[in-house]
């Protein structure tokens, strides 16, 4: 029984990891784009970016999942998500946009936190605008945003469980299935509780990783 449960939970955990990884790959760069939008001197773009951030931070991720997954099918003759793996990609889109909005505000804080004098110093040294951004601002921003980003990323690990509202069969789902009947067992509660071990192990690993990154960054001083 234990082996069966572990196998089923591990399959669920793989789905959780997949959603986690795809969200990071999508949201890390998209967040930077949105943060540029939010800081743009072109007013309509700035307003648009801030509006998007407001909508996606201001509504529950669960609601976003439901809307992104079901609404296309209400208006189109065929739901684009009604393919195999469609639930996963719908969840991925919702998570990427949602997390990009949170990341964008962290980036913005990091970029705006770099003293203006440094950019001016760059100009005096004859650096181009992009040189200043990549070699002066971005490097220091990365160092500043590590603690808040690690916070968000660890939250993301656990938020993946929200995707079960559109029946994505992630880790919590796999644990829950043993209550209802799965792999020939029903009425088992402990697999659900046991999923906590997976989350703890994974977030523990991430915590160590972020501690190392912070330590490495320290070499910039300050």
């Amino acid at each position: 029984m234990f082996i069966t449960v572990i196998q089923a939970l591990s399959e669920g955990f793989l789905e959780t990891l997949k959603l986690f990884a795809v969200t990071l790959v999508g949201a890390l760069p998209l967040g930077l784009v949105i943060s540029f939008g939010s800081m743009s001197r072109f007013t309509p773009l700035r307003w648009l970016s801030r509006f998007v951030v407001w909508v996606f931070r201001g509504t529950p991720l669960m609601l976003q999942l439901i809307i992104i997954f079901y609404v296309p099918g209400f208006v189109l003759p065929q739901n684009p998500w009604a393919i195999s793996g469609g639930r996963f990609w719908a969840a991925a889109v919702a998570f990427i946009i949602n997390y990009a909005c949170y990341f964008s505000e962290i980036y913005r804080g990091g970029i705006e936190g770099v003293p203006k004098g440094q950019q001016e110093a760059g100009q005096v040294l004859g650096m181009t605008k992009s040189q200043i951004f990549f070699k002066v601002t971005l490097l220091q921003m990365i160092k500043r945003i590590v603690p808040p980003m690690s916070n968000e990323i660890i939250t993301l690990v656990k938020d993946t469980s929200i995707a079960r509202i559109i029946s994505l069969q992630e880790l919590i789902y796999a644990g829950y299935a043993f209550l209802k009947g799965s792999h020939g067992y029903s009425g088992l509660i402990w697999p659900l509780f046991f999923t906590g071990v997976y989350y703890l192990a994974f977030t523990g690993l991430l915590t160590l990783l972020f501690a190392r990154i912070e330590k490495k960054m320290r070499y910039f001083g300050g």
Binding site: F69, G73, G86, L179, K180, G181, H183, S186, L188, I189
Partner: protein, 261 residues
């Protein structure tokens, strides 16, 4: 003139689409045949839709659905859904049919196109075994705190009783509430209770006592779907040739099957 014609065509196509959208299920038979799959929305529900040790979908409903898909010349695909979202899943075309021991309530009939009833069911009260003797009548359970599946037929029965209750995600969760002692009693389908509660099951320390009402199971499609007629025909044929009863006996629900004529 050419431009005008293409514009006119575009407008007509748009109107055509809108007309099609207003009756979302009208071309369902063609739609399902074209994509080659019948996506069956289920929750895990013994003895209707559940998995064997190898992960295959079995159960009375699951096998009937597979046969029906075969008759249409398509493949049945089983998709686990959140029960609350069943109407969304149909209208959003992420599933084609809800075939999961679904009680034909007024809400269900309003939200989807339903087949003929094929199975009798009862909403039944589940309590812990050691106190079951005290709860043999409908009156005796009125003071209990219930756990019921959100949007289920059981919830309606508890409301009618006037008892205190909490809504949980599904019937299995309602059972685990009783097992964990967070609720005194659950109300679930008698067919499920027969398979999941009592000696030799995962809920050996629970017991079913009093039944609250009688009701019927049906299969749900998108509103206006032409699959309803196909399924009713299929039910008639399989009832007449004995296939339906044979499967019912395999899963122990033969006493509940409704004659299809």
């Amino acid at each position: 003139m050419k431009k005008f014609l293409s514009l006119l065509t575009a407008v007509l196509m748009l109107v055509g689409c809108l007309a099609a959208c207003s009756a979302p299920g009208a071309g369902d038979v063609a739609y399902v045949k074209e994509k080659g799959t019948l996506v069956v929305g289920i929750t895990v529900f013994e003895p209707m839709d559940y998995q064997d040790a190898d992960g295959n979908w079995i159960g009375f409903d699951a096998e009937m659905a597979a046969l029906f898909a075969e008759k249409l010349g398509v493949k049945a695909e089983f998709q686990i859904i959140e029960w609350d979202n069943k109407a969304f899943e149909l209208e959003g075309k992420t599933i084609d049919v809800v075939w999961n021991g679904m009680t034909l309530t007024d809400e269900v009939k309003a939200a989807m196109a339903c087949s003929n009833a094929y199975c009798n069911n009862q909403q039944i009260v589940i309590v812990k075994k050691d106190v079951a003797d005290q709860y043999k009548t409908v009156d005796s359970v009125k003071g209990l705190k219930f756990a019921v599946e959100a949007g289920s037929a059981g919830k309606k029965q508890v409301e009618a009783l006037g008892a205190q209750f909490v809504e949980v995600a599904d019937q299995a969760t309602a059972l685990s509430e009783v097992k964990a002692g967070t609720s005194d009693a659950a109300v679930i389908d008698s067919l499920m209770a027969g398979a999941m509660v009592g000696e030799g099951t995962g809920y050996a320390d629970l017991m079913y006592t009093v039944g609250l009402n009688d009701e019927e199971y049906g299969v749900g499609f998108r509103k206006g779907s032409d699959l309803v007629a196909e399924l009713n025909k299929f039910f008639k044929e399989t009832y007449a040739d004995g296939t339906m009863m044979e499967l019912a006996e395999k899963y122990g629900v033969q006493a509940s099957i409704i004659e299809q004529k």
